[in-house]
Symmetry: C2
DNA sequence: ATCAATATTTAGGTTGTGCTAAATAATTTT
DNA sequence: AAAATTATTTAGCACAACCTAAATATTGAT
């Protein structure tokens, strides 16, 4: 089915909200995520229900159908592949690619995305460490945990970020943390969850909030 | 100014029609090119006039303003750079790229197109031999002529196509003609303008229509 | 259980981009 | 020059995607 950019953006938003909560997605949550009004979200949700991309029960929220989930995954796939292109080939910084990928993801061409994937060497993860769904919708999951879950003296490699806002990514740069960086917990403050960590050879102080947005793979 | 895909497509169409005729563009011509109805073209033309991208006189047609021409050239620039990407990097065939570039050209990001141009090695021409406008709107013109203008025993290198429909490009493939192919006129029929030409080492027969859609650079 | 607060939907309006049918202007033919 | 033909515009409708304000349903507190 050929969807409009707006429809695709809504589907993606619903998918991500479903993932984050494992429950139906409410109109308010969706409107907030889409930066629109609840009444606009209701309108769109009705259209998507009409197209059988989601189940909608008035006042009860929304869940994607199989079709809807499949569509959402394909858009995410395109978004992430384009992000890889922007960083690996055009040398964009990892905090600059989201906005452009938001547009590129809506270009309709199966052939294009197949060839792009090939050209990029069939990457498994995007520049933020997020997995790239395959053409059939499969996602490669890795055993990652939040840095905040590690105990003192445990260490690992940074494999992703939970939030990927430019602000956070730029902050990580300042701290010399990026995908692939080795991190070890030197100390953890019980009071506020803050940590002293080893980044490469240097010590660094990070807040609980930061530790809760960094994924690491333990060694 | 941030324009919608539809507005951008209209601007491009008007630019091309102006180039082809050196006179004002009529509503009917525009509607035909855009594959829409004259009434729709009138609507759009009014909006673009409002934005001062073109001059519009009722019943008299339309001409682009300087602003409008600048915008059109930037869209054409993006279209052609993306076409180079699709052919050179993703190995699309030259007859498959127009449709996808029609979408990619509407992605808004100065930075993206600057980096893409760099990545592609700052090409001067697209896969159909058409010049790529520079960032400031300059077009590199070459001394090319239509194959149809050549006399017997004159020869040259194919440097472009006037029409770039998939049908025509596929036909050229069958004839083993592409950008860079050496061609020599062995004979020209006065009656219907058809030609016998030398393509590489082989003889080939082409119609006047074909000869009028092939650009060559004489040696 | 009732009421207040919150969430959601509906009603009705706006803008962009298309359409058809009818009106009007321009051009060509006679 | 008038009539016929063609080109163009206008009027009015439709749909997607937004909005605000008002109505209604759900939830949480008393
Ligand atoms: Mn998007
Ligand atoms: Mn990402
Ligand atoms: Mn286009
Ligand atoms: Mn071209």
């Amino acid at each position: 089915m050929k969807l409009s950019p707006s429809e695709e953006n809504y589907l993606k938003a619903i998918y991500h909200l479903e993932q984050a909560s494992d429950t139906g997605v409410t109109t308010n949550a969706l409107a907030q995520r889409m930066e629109t009004k609840p009444s606009s979200a209701t309108d769109m949700v009705k259209r998507l229900a009409e197209k059988e991309l989601l189940h909608y029960v008035r006042y009860r929220g929304v869940t994607l159908t199989n079709e809807g989930t499949k569509s959402a995954l394909q858009i995410i796939r395109k978004h992430r592949l384009w992000q890889v292109f922007l960083v690996e080939k055009l040398h964009f910084h990892w905090d600059q690619v989201a906005e452009i990928a938001e547009q590129l993801e809506h270009v309709h061409s199966e052939e294009l995305i197949a060839r792009l994937e090939r050209f990029l060497g069939e990457p498994d993860f995007d520049p933020h460490g997020e997995p790239i769904p395959s053409k059939d919708g499969t996602i490669k999951q890795t055993a990652k945990k939040l840095l905040a879950e590690l105990k003192k003296n445990q260490g690992g490699v940074c494999v992703g970020v939970k939030e990927s806002s430019p602000e956070f990514l730029q902050y990580l740069d300042k701290k010399n943390i990026t995908i692939g960086t080795k991190i070890k917990v030197l100390g953890k403050e019980f009071f506020d969850g803050s940590m002293v960590i080893l980044v490469g050879k240097d010590q660094s102080f990070i807040s609980k909030k930061t530790a809760e947005n960094l994924y690491v793979q333990t060694l």
